[in-house]
């Protein structure tokens, strides 16, 4: 008996390298290879549809696109121009204030970063609130996820083009005067003047006041953009075991301490996910000013080298910022019981 086990042990210890060569993959490895079958639908799309489309767009950025008129056979021709598209487009003035495209990208990054931080904080806060037991929780949840379901697409489009109707209904000089004064109408919901007065009387620095005012004025937009993040946070909150909270309260932790010592670390993977999602969502939304500028280069959908160049510069920067966020968050994210 003992001899047998000993022999087994020795063979086991000495063989893996040899065995691998002889038998090929192990059972688990062979099973893992089946993963390719599962991701096959995406792979097919990636290789046959997406890769070629992306490649096309990428080559446009280094070339000049010419449409050949239908009389001469139709189609298009590309002439390689190197980095000319990038050079001309990035330095082009796109703004009424005389900003170049590159400057526009960076100023928009700055405002977007503030927005993104606010959206993540807001959605975390609301998710924590919606997770508590209270009167009308179901109703509140239903209302808060309305923007997720209907807020995107057509309603956003109509809202962006048709805020004058809201203004018309709330401001006195509305339609008959023909002026829809931007920003001060019902789309602002709260008068910026009041907030300014209030904060000014408190003696706060003006940069802080500005941030608060833009926050208050854009509250509708922020609520609309925070829906999916709330959903993800809510699911994360549900996955935290109630036993942890229980033991915390027995040890005498206050709600504040519990939040920072338990909820926050346990939610840190979700915060990373939401940071990713919010960055992608807000940088590539149609309402983003850079995206508007990019689409404006060739509004009819005719491919243009300059548009591709601008777009790829922008996406490159977005990808870099995503990597940066991943790098910064790496040490803060706490993974519970994960072993891979």
């Amino acid at each position: 008996m003992t001899k047998d086990t000993k022999m087994n042990n020795s063979t086991l210890a000495s063989s893996p390298a040899k065995k691998k060569k002889r038998r090929g993959a192990s059972l688990i490895e062979r099973r893992d290879r089946l993963g390719w079958v599962f991701i096959l639908p995406f792979l097919i799309g990636l290789v046959f549809l997406y890769a070629s489309v992306i490649w096309e767009s990428f080559t446009y950025s280094f070339a000049k696109y010419n449409t050949i008129p239908a009389i001469r056979g139709g189609g298009y021709s590309l002439t390689f121009v190197g980095f000319d598209n990038f050079a001309s487009q990035l330095m082009k003035t796109v703004d009424s204030e005389g900003k170049t495209f590159l400057e526009l990208i960076f100023t928009s990054f700055a405002t977007q970063i503030v927005d993104i931080i606010i959206i993540i904080m807001f959605s975390l806060f609301i998710a924590v609130l919606l997770n508590q037991k209270m009167i009308g929780r179901t109703a509140f949840r239903a209302i808060f996820f309305i923007p997720v379901v209907v807020g995107a697409g057509i309603i956003a489009k109509i809202d962006s083009t048709a805020s004058e109707i809201l203004d018309a209904m709330s401001s006195l000089e509305g339609i008959d005067m023909g002026t829809a004064n931007g920003g001060e109408g019902a789309s602002g919901l709260v008068s910026a003047m009041d907030v300014n007065m209030l904060l000014g009387s408190l003696g706060l620095p003006s940069t802080f006041t500005d941030i608060i005012i833009t926050l208050v004025q854009n509250i509708y937009e922020i609520v609309n953009r925070a829906g999916v993040q709330m959903l993800i946070f809510l699911s994360g909150l549900q996955s935290i075991s109630p036993a942890i909270y229980e033991s915390c309260s027995i040890d005498g932790a206050t709600a504040w301490e519990t939040f920072w010592k338990i909820t926050f670390p346990m939610l840190s993977p979700m915060i990373l996910v939401n940071a990713f999602y919010t960055i992608i969502d807000s940088f590539t939304a149609e309402s983003n000013e850079v995206m508007l500028a990019i689409i404006e280069i060739s509004p009819n959908g005719v491919p243009s080298g300059e548009q591709s160049a601008a777009a790829w510069t922008y996406f490159g920067l977005v990808i870099v910022s995503l990597l940066l966020v991943a790098f910064l968050f790496r040490n803060f994210v706490f993974y519970n019981r994960r072993n891979d």
């Binding site: 379901v149 309603i155 209904m169 995206m291 959908g301």
Partner: protein, 352 residues
Amino acid sequence: MNNKQESKPMVVKETKNKIKADFERTSLKERMKAKYLNSFFYKKLAVAIFRFVLLLGISYIILFPFFSKISASFMSPQDFIQSDVKMIPKFPTLNTYKYLIIENQYFKAMLNSFILSGICAVIQMFVAAFVGYGFAKFKFKGRNIVFLFVMLTMIVPHQILASSFVQKFIYFDIFGIFEATGLYSALGLTQGIYNTYVPLILLSLTGLAFKNGLFIFLMRSYYRGVPDELEESSFIDGYGVFKTFFKIILPISGPMLITIFILAFAWQWTDIFYVNTFLPSSENLLLTSNQFWSVMPDTLEVLSTGAGANVQTFEVAVKNTAGLLVVLPLIILYIFCQRYLVQGIESSGLAN
């Protein structure tokens, strides 16, 4: 006596009867006092009120645009000249609805939208589950790289790639099979699969449709939380990988699948870009086709010019009403399904 007490601490046994007797002996006033007149209760009450008011306020912000849209939809052109008309129209009318429904073929568009969104949502749901499972449970080489590509498909918006996609679909072919067999001419299609539902279905099938990267990501996180033991036990029972997936994994992921389905359905329903890029012809009228929502019915134009109103402003109002008509079926569906939306994502317990 003392010794005895030390060795055996007195334990007051609170039987049910004793508690009940105590409870009845204290007067109602005393009981209420003990319950409500303490700092703990005040604090709790203050927090609850603060929370309630805050949530109510934000709910108002979310719902206000809908209220204003609803009230504007009942306004007649005359109301837009009157400067004192705010929320409640002075000359309420149903004409906007009437002519939008009749002249812009609302019901036809709704049926088409329903079919397209239904098909796409079902496909996207299963594809996301399939691909997400592949990423979550199989440790093959290169999966992280492929997953980066999933992220990439989310980063590059399709608006930039629209023309390339359209080209691709007009000249769509699989190794020249369609051309050789004359499939397109047999079906009467002159522009390949452009102007049919096929491009959108194809994008759904390959996980490239609107925000499908997010769906794959959600399903992957969900399946990571499913214990490996479940699959191992089914493996021991003689199920293969695929049988395990279809018979065991899919059924348990029901709530999450419903969440994905709701999101996919709603986003396809309100989608405006794909519909107008790939299906611009009026045969495939959908609710979000430009022919439905951004074309002013002729009768309404006549009415508004007749009333001396600013046609442009009235057109904006008509668009608003059209938008309401688009989301109305969706909201009705949402009212019935909203608890599944939250339930699914709650039960998922995404942990990574």
